[in-house]
């Protein structure tokens, strides 16, 4: 659905917003772009949605070149931009006008509008002007509005910013439903939990480069073993305890400490737990918190952008 090879883009010819980005988005998948502010996510979305032309590299969306067939591409995609975008009119009229702009016939337009009003909880605010709404309400309207028309690829640029937990889940579930019906989604976010919930594959992008690209499961396994142990000690010499523990665990685990707490990444959590128990007893150290969990996307993200590990080449 999207093919990018060695994409580069510079706004001011000094700093590269995109620096040799290559990836493929497959039909029917949710492809996540994770990164910090200014990492290059929105520039990449702008390039894919034909708003900007990359300085160099190859880009194809739905098999077409955005530079030459931009209008054809745009008539088959949907875009929820990061910034707000509304007409100076009511919520209901905004949805209606958008349907008109996309050429949706009246009966179908009304049906979709009412269905979306219900699905995104907009019934009570339908008569209010879009610009008078709260940040979360505006976001809901913006996302709902995009579903007024049919599309093959949906680009969501941080769509859940400002949404409460329930609405966030409603939105993500709506996207999931559409994906089940064949929609392909490109999704940017800071929120790693929702990327974990929604995405099939993710690319971690930083300073215009893709640092990591793989399925969620592969990424979680690639980074630091299969399990993470969170540990906090309450008394005694925590520094000596952790340095001894690191020695005893050897190369089979990675221990990262901060004050009295440590994060241990290991492929053999049973062995690590037994060493922790032995050592704490021997040194008279009291364990305040001990938790064994699967690696999360946050672990992947932090390690890939340089907070605890080396990065790996994009897949």
């Amino acid at each position: 659905m999207v093919y990018a090879e060695n994409l580069r883009h510079s706004y001011d010819r000094r700093r590269l917003a995109l620096d040799g980005v290559s990836f493929t988005v497959r039909r029917g998948e949710v492809f996540g772009l994770l990164g910090r502010n200014g990492a290059g996510k929105s520039t990449l979305i702008k390039a894919m949605t034909t708003l900007i032309q990359p300085t160099s590299g190859t880009l194809r969306v739905l098999g077409m070149d955005p530079a030459r067939e931009g209008q054809k591409i745009r008539s088959r995609i949907g875009v929820v931009q990061q910034g707000e975008s509304f007409d100076f009119t009511t919520v209901q009229r905004n949805l209606d006008l958008y349907g008109i702009l996309w050429g949706i016939p009246k009966v179908e337009r009304t049906r979709r509008r009412e269905e979306l009003m219900t699905r995104f909880g907009l019934d009570e605010i339908r008569k209010r002007r879009a610009f008078d709404l709260s940040g979360g309400q505006k976001r809901r309207v913006q996302v709902a509005r995009e579903f007024m028309h049919d599309m093959e690829v949906l680009f969501l640029d941080e769509p859940t910013v400002g949404l409460d937990v329930i609405m966030r889940r409603t939105l993500l579930d709506s996207v999931r439903d559409e994906v089940r019906r064949g929609l392909t989604v490109v999704f940017t976010t800071h929120n790693l939990e929702e990327a974990d919930y929604l995405c099939d594959r993710v690319a971690v992008i930083d300073e215009g480069k893709i640092l990591v690209l793989d399925s969620l499961e592969n990424l979680k396994q690639l980074y630091g073993g299969k399990k993470t142990i969170d540990l906090t000690v309450g008394n005694g010499d925590a520094a000596r305890f952790y340095s001894t523990l690191t020695e005893r665990l050897g190369t089979r685990a990675t221990v990262t400490t901060k004050g009295g707490s440590a994060v241990i990444l290991t492929e053999d959590p049973k062995e690590a737990l037994s060493k922790i128990a032995e050592l704490s007893q021997a040194m008279g150290i009291q364990l305040e918190w001990l938790n064994v969990r699967k690696n999360t996307l946050e672990d992947v993200f932090l390690r890939s952008v340089g907070h605890g590990g080396e990065s790996i080449a994009s897949a």
Partner: protein, 255 residues
């Protein structure tokens, strides 16, 4: 049947820009000029005993004034769409940049024609007369259309270049003031005017529109009007080119 993109954009522009505030600017303000200035200055000229109907003189001027007002609405459409994110939203939709621009230009033109028609109606209610020849209406229509394109393009050019809200409003207000009052909308070009003002009057495109509309309205069209319209036509092509160029090169977002 699928409605063409351009018509859908025009429909959207009309719906979004026919709120009470825009209508007051488009119709209410010129209508008040017609009534207050028309009767106010009429009383002066009547007391002077000249017998000239100032209201009849002002009517075609105010009809021409509509091209400036519609142009400002057009410029504001682009500015507001960029400021509030709809420009980039529309441009990731099934439209081209040129279609968007044409949508604004044609909407401005429709506003100018509609506004001029309303002014003609008000004047008819006040004066009881209006042009009787179809040719006169044709000339008025053509002059309003060309004038609307000129001022629409001028305002789009400005709004493509100016990003600050305050700067845009200041430039717009200043331009409206100078263009309207240094033209033959409200008073004739007389030899008694200072040379600089006379020059300003003569190079002001609104003077060309007002003179032509007035000529058609009062049945006194002359070769000078045809010449003025030809000059306006050339100026319109130039400003349209500049506006399209500035718009196509401008950033679609406000940031």
């Amino acid at each position: 049947m699928r409605v063409p993109n351009l018509l859908r954009l025009i429909y959207r522009n009309i719906v979004v820009n026919t709120d009470p505030g825009s209508l007051i600017i488009l119709v209410g303000l010129p209508g008040m000029y017609l009534v207050f200035f028309g009767y106010g200055f009429q009383s002066i000229s009547s007391s002077g005993g000249s017998g000239v109907s100032y209201l009849a003189f002002l009517t075609p001027g105010i009809m021409s004034f509509q091209v400036v007002m519609a142009g400002t609405v057009g410029g504001s459409m682009l500015w507001a769409d960029r400021r509030w994110g709809m420009l980039s939203q529309l441009l990731v939709g099934p439209f081209t940049r040129l279609q968007y621009l044409m949508g604004i230009m044609l909407t401005s033109m429709l506003f100018a024609i509609g506004g001029a028609a309303v002014m003609l109606g008000i004047a008819y209610a006040l004066l009881g007369t209006s042009p009787t020849q179809l040719f006169a209406y044709g000339v008025i229509f053509a002059a309003i259309v060309v004038g609307a394109i000129f001022f629409g393009a001028l305002m789009l050019f400005i709004s493509a270049l100016v990003k600050s809200n305050t700067a845009y409003n200041s430039v717009q207000i200043l331009l409206i003031f100078v263009v309207n009052f240094a033209s033959t909308v409200f008073y004739p070009l007389s030899s008694g005017l200072p040379l600089v003002l006379r020059f300003l009057f003569q190079i002001n495109p609104l003077t060309y529109v007002a003179d032509t509309v007035r000529g058609a309205y009062s049945g006194t069209l002359s070769l000078t009007d045809a010449y003025q319209m030809a000059v306006l036509g050339v100026e319109t092509v130039v400003i349209l080119f500049l506006a399209v160029r500035a718009y196509l090169r401008s950033d679609v977002s406000y940031e």
